[in-house]
Amino acid sequence: MLDFEVFVQQLITGLSNGMIIALIAIGYTMVYGIIELINFAHGDVFMLGAFLALTLLGLLGMESWGPWGQAGGVATMLAASALFCGGLNWSLDRLAYRSLRRSSKLALLVSAIGCSFICVNLGLFWGGLPMEVFGGGMAAAAPKDFPALIPQTNLLGDSFIRITPADLLVVAITVPLMVGLTVMVKRTRLGRAMRAVAQDGVAAALMGIPVDRVIGATFFIGGALGGFASVVYALYNNTIGFQMGTRAGLDAFTAAVLGGIGSLPGAVLGGLTIGCVRSMSDQYLETRWTNTIVFGILVLILIFRPSGLLGAARREKV
C-alpha cells in the first residue's frame, strides 16, 4: 500500500465517524440554541435508542430476513428509534426541565445530569432483559453485539482502500437528514418559531408563539436525530453498551462547540473535523494521545476564534 492510500483510508474513516458525531451534535446544538442547556442526557437518550433497535432486531428476528427484508428492518429501526428518542427527549423536557425554565441555568444543568444517570441505569436494566440478543440477561453490564445487517465487505474488491456498505449507509442517512433539517429550520413555520424563541423567548411569547410547545418540538427533533444516529452508530460499529452515551455525548458536544454552538452547519463541520483529527492522530501519532490532541486543537481554535469555527460572535445589547 502507498502512503497516499493510507491517508485516503483514514480520511474515509474520519468522515464516517465524524458524520455520526455530527448527527448527535446537532441534537445538542439545537437544544442549546433554544434554552442554553447542555443537555447531558442527550447522549444517554441516544444510547437507549440503540437498545431499542437491538430489541426490535431480536424480537422480529431480523437477522434471518433476506436482504430486502433487512433493508426494511433497518428502516423500521430508524423510524422506531427516532420516534422513541424524540419522545423520550420530549418527556425529559416535560418532566424534568420545563419547571426549571425560570430557575438558574445551573439548576437545569444538574437536572440534566440527573436524567443522564437515570437513563444510564435504564440502559443497564434493558441490557439485562432475558433475550437472546442481550446474552440472555446474564451480564447486564457487558457490551452487546449488534448484528451486522449491513455488511462490512469492501466494495472496491481487494484494494487497500476500503469503502463498505456501512460507510455508504452513514452517508445515505446523515446527509439527507442534515439537509432536511437545515431546510426545515430556514423555511418552515416551526423553524421560524424555533429561531424566534432562540433569539428572545419573552418577545416570542408576546408575539403569540407557544414557547413551551416550540421548545418541546425542538427537544423532540433533537432526540429524533439522536435516534437516527443511534441506529447508524449501531450498524456501523456493531457494538452497543449502556455506557456508550457518555463518550458519544462528549464527542458530540465538543463538536458542537468547535463548530460554534447553536449553528447547525457548525455542528456538522465540528463533527467532521473531530472525526478526521481523530483518525489522523491515530495514524500519524499515537492513539493514546488522540484525545489530548483533539482537545488541544479545540483550545487552540477557541483562543483565536472564541465563538467556534462558524459561530457568530454575539454582541451584547447595551
Binding site: 483565536f304 454582541r315 447595551v318
Partner: protein, 344 residues
Amino acid sequence: MKAMECHGVWVQFGGLIAVQDVSFAVNPGEIFAVIGPNGAGKTTLFNAVTGIYPPTKGRVELHGDEQVEPVTPRVVATIAIVGALVGALAVGAVHIQSLWQSWIIDHYKYAQPFPWAEATAALARAIAGLGWFGGVLPLVVGGAIGGGAAWKHFSRARRASDHIARTGVARTFQNIRLFNELSLAQNVLVGMDARMRTGFVSALLRLPRFHAERRAFHAEAQELLDFVGLAGRADEAAGSLPYGLRRRLEIARALGSRPTLLLLDEPAAGMNPTEVGGLMALIRRVRDRGVTVVLIEHHMKLVMGVSDRIHVLQHGRTIAEGTPDAIRSDRRCIEAYLGSEEHG
C-alpha cells in the same frame, strides 16, 4: 484641554453604519447633551467612547488623550515572557519523559541519597543536547503561539472598557444594569473598586490595611448613597429597589470611581415629572462636584433645563450643535426631532 473629544467617529456593524463621521468636544465642567430620534446612534456613540466596542474609524480623546494602552517596553517584555514560557512548556511537553529520565531515573537509586549536583548537570546536558529539531523547533513554534495569543489578548484589551473606566470615565446604562443580587452599598463599592488597593493576600488574611480601607470605603459609599438620596437603604438588595430609584443608584455607583467625566444614558427614561425634577437637581449637583456630565436624553424638559450645550444626531450624522436656545430655534432640528416630539 477638553474633557472629551470625538474626531470623525464612525461605527459600523457589518453593513449597517450606526455612527457616521461625528465630531464634537466637551469642555470640562459643562453639562453636554446628545439628542436625536430613536436609532440616531446615540447609545452606539457612548459605547464607542467607553470602549464597549471600538470605533470603526476616527478617534475618541478623553482628557486630551486617546486612552489606548500604549505599547510600552513593559508590554513587549510581558509578551516576550509569555512567548518564552509557552515555548519552554512546549519543549518540556515534547521531551518531558527523556528529560526526567536523565535527571531522576538515571540517578535515583531507591532509598539512597540523591546526587543533586550530578543529576542537575546531566539534566542541563540533556537540555543542551536537544538540538535544532527537538529543541529549537518546539521552542519557536510554542513561542510564536504563546506570543501571538498574548499579543491578541493585549490588543483586544487595549481600549477595553475597564481600562477606560479607570482613566476617570464612568457611565450609566439605558436599560439599567445594576447588580441586582448585591446590596445598594455593594453596588457603590463595585464602582469604587478601581480606587481600592487591597490585594489577594491582605483580603485573605484580613491584614490591618484591609480593615482600614474597608472602613474608609464603606463610609464613602454611605455618603454617596446619601448624596443621591438613598440614605438608609444601604443593605437592601438592588433588585428590590423601585424603578425610579434605580437610576439614582446607578449614578451613585458611577460616582464611586470619582470620575471626571460621567456619561448618562437616558437617565430620565420612565420617570414621572416630579422624579425628573429631582433628577435635574441631582445632575446639577453632580456637576458642582466638578464632574463633567454628558447625557443622552429624549426628555426635552430635562435636556433644555440642565444642558449647557446640545449636540443633535440623526441617522448617525451630526445635524446641529449649540446652546439650548439655539437648538430650540434650529429649523432642521425642529423638523427632524423636536417637531415630532412636541406636537406628535
